[in-house]
Subunit: 418 residues, 2 copies
Amino acid sequence: MEKILKGAAVVGQSGGPTAAINATLAGVIRGVFADQGEHITRLYGMRNGIEGFLAERTVDLTELFALADGSIDEEKVTLLSHTPAAGLGSCRKKLPDPHKDTEFFENLIALFKKYDIRYFFYIGGNDSMDTVAKLTEYLKTSDYEMCAIGVPKTIDNDLMGTDHTPGFGSAAKFIATTISEIIRDCAVYTVPAVTIVEIMGRDAGWLTASAGLPGIINGFAPDLVYLPEVTFDMDEFFASVKEALKKHPNVVVAVSEGIRFADGRYVGEGTQSGSTDAFGHKYLAGTGKALELAVKAEIGCKVRSIELNLPQRCASHCSSLTDLTESSGAGMAAVKAAAEGISGHMISIQRCEGAYAVDFKASDISKIANQVRSVPRDFINAAGNNVTKECLEYILPLIQGEPAIAYKNGIPVQFVID
Amino acid sequence: MEKILKGAAVVGQSGGPTAAINATLAGVIRGVFADQGEHITRLYGMRNGIEGFLAERTVDLTELFALADGSIDEEKVTLLSHTPAAGLGSCRKKLPDPHKDTEFFENLIALFKKYDIRYFFYIGGNDSMDTVAKLTEYLKTSDYEMCAIGVPKTIDNDLMGTDHTPGFGSAAKFIATTISEIIRDCAVYTVPAVTIVEIMGRDAGWLTASAGLPGIINGFAPDLVYLPEVTFDMDEFFASVKEALKKHPNVVVAVSEGIRFADGRYVGEGTQSGSTDAFGHKYLAGTGKALELAVKAEIGCKVRSIELNLPQRCASHCSSLTDLTESSGAGMAAVKAAAEGISGHMISIQRCEGAYAVDFKASDISKIANQVRSVPRDFINAAGNNVTKECLEYILPLIQGEPAIAYKNGIPVQFVID
């Protein structure tokens, strides 16, 4: 698209929340205010993503974040960026095939026309990029001109075409911090004990890999780290735990929720709920619990499991300043790209050579959606029970810096979009 | 005891770790340095509590925390106080009856004589106060003169004779912060869902009560809060959850791990491991999981459970400045009391009238050990499914303030006593 459009913009958040998804929303808001109406006349927020938009549930973000003189209320925007989870609400809506269910897209386009929306920003993970890709595909067949841009978000760090994803750094910082504290907690007794920490990541082991970070920072790391990228073998696991117990009594193991046996079964399958989400992904629970019971039966020592659970994706009080800054940067880059007439692209993060720094780039979304970027095999040790120093050095810059979180009466201040 | 003693001191930490137990150790160290050798000539740390001391596993803390000129290394002491879990290690040793197993105590006294130890400081919970009480009891029959002082520590806040316990405020702050973030996370979808958060506290519900704090701070609180002080009724629970689901789709429930049915069975009993700790306490796991399965079967909506687990007691990065300051203050007060010849006492925290402030007092330990201070019934609502404003106002001052945690490379700096 070469023609420069003028009109309103709409922004939505979709998929699982992160501690940084509002920082990206803040970036889009900053970008729109910086545009000063040259291309974007007004910014609407979709409540609960595309699903809420179809029901015309929107909020006028230009109005909400403007000071009396029309300039941006940066204090409010900063509070928003420090608030966890999707401020606009989220959804898990899979769009139909744009070549088959044209009615769905016609309805969508009718709404865009109604609000004079020429810019569509969608913040989310793999499934959300699929939404942008499908809309882009449909737009090729429509005479309505608009820009659709995806802005990545996922704690899983498993999107293709980007060095890393906004939201991952904060989750990794929370995991590294918490593992570091758990290791101290586990070190106080002399009785042999195994502590198994279950970490999110169904298909990609980036979050679990982050558990190893304290090792290159203060020298204390989990003894064993198991990612879904390597087939899990129970006998090898027992042997590794026994070996670790010979070295010191407090063995800490980090495991991904998504580890599987050679036959494809999830390790946590025995304790899983059996339900699947809207995208057909199996819902897992209890990988740590399954290993706890296994170690208890095989080794007989004290053993416990800890599931880090939701705080991995919503512990804003422990977010990474680097992540929040880049997340906002990605949102601003999306507005800039759209104002330049780019459409059907996802904003990606490119790591520069030398000292850590990043550039934002717009990448063709059709080449990105519905793929998973796994931890490469050479980031995992030969035995498959830990990550390499190169892996940790890749993650380390992403957890740097602590945002100045505002507290009121003992807890962090949140900005809630009513 | 009126005679003022001069000699070495020994300090130990015992029982479960907290985020503030090292702040109390820091307070004892500060107190000893402030004494400038007038009463206490040297401070030894017992490794792994009384158990390690019996094996003569000690560390010279005077040496470890002194600058070249002999003054206190306040930077190191502050880092220690920001490090979670017992820096000296812990144990779960129940001392024998001082009137029956005199040999045990004779061995102990022999070691005190060997190191010229006249001051014994023991930081811990109920079981640790039992240790101080028994040593005190034995000392009455011995001609060896020494002071034994207990310094309270427990996230459970269930010790008698003190307004609250060091360690509780930090755990409460972590719980309030995390619940506040989980509430945001749960608010993003429109599909009815119940989220059950399981919180520590076997017999006392103080920690679970803390989950209600965001309600009086920012207006967002769990819909239902269940403490072990009130008998749990599954039918009433279902009715309350259904009622809450009528008001909004994202219901959050906070439950104590120790809630029981009218017949005395723990709600989590079906999923418990069956093992007991050294003091005969039943080890529980899965109260949240049990309720999750019950809600799924009865209501059929989306439901999940989250166990906050170990981070409740070791999340130093989210500790309360008020708690850390008071925890250190209690340690300093212990040294001061001992130097005044007080023995057989526990340092207690007394809340002053008016604006929040505290005094430290030495309370007779024989009246404190082995009792549990529960949440009073009038701090719980009539329906037994939430806490009152008065309860929250009692807790609120304890979570105030954020310590200036030092970070290195993205995670908090810890001071590890090698």
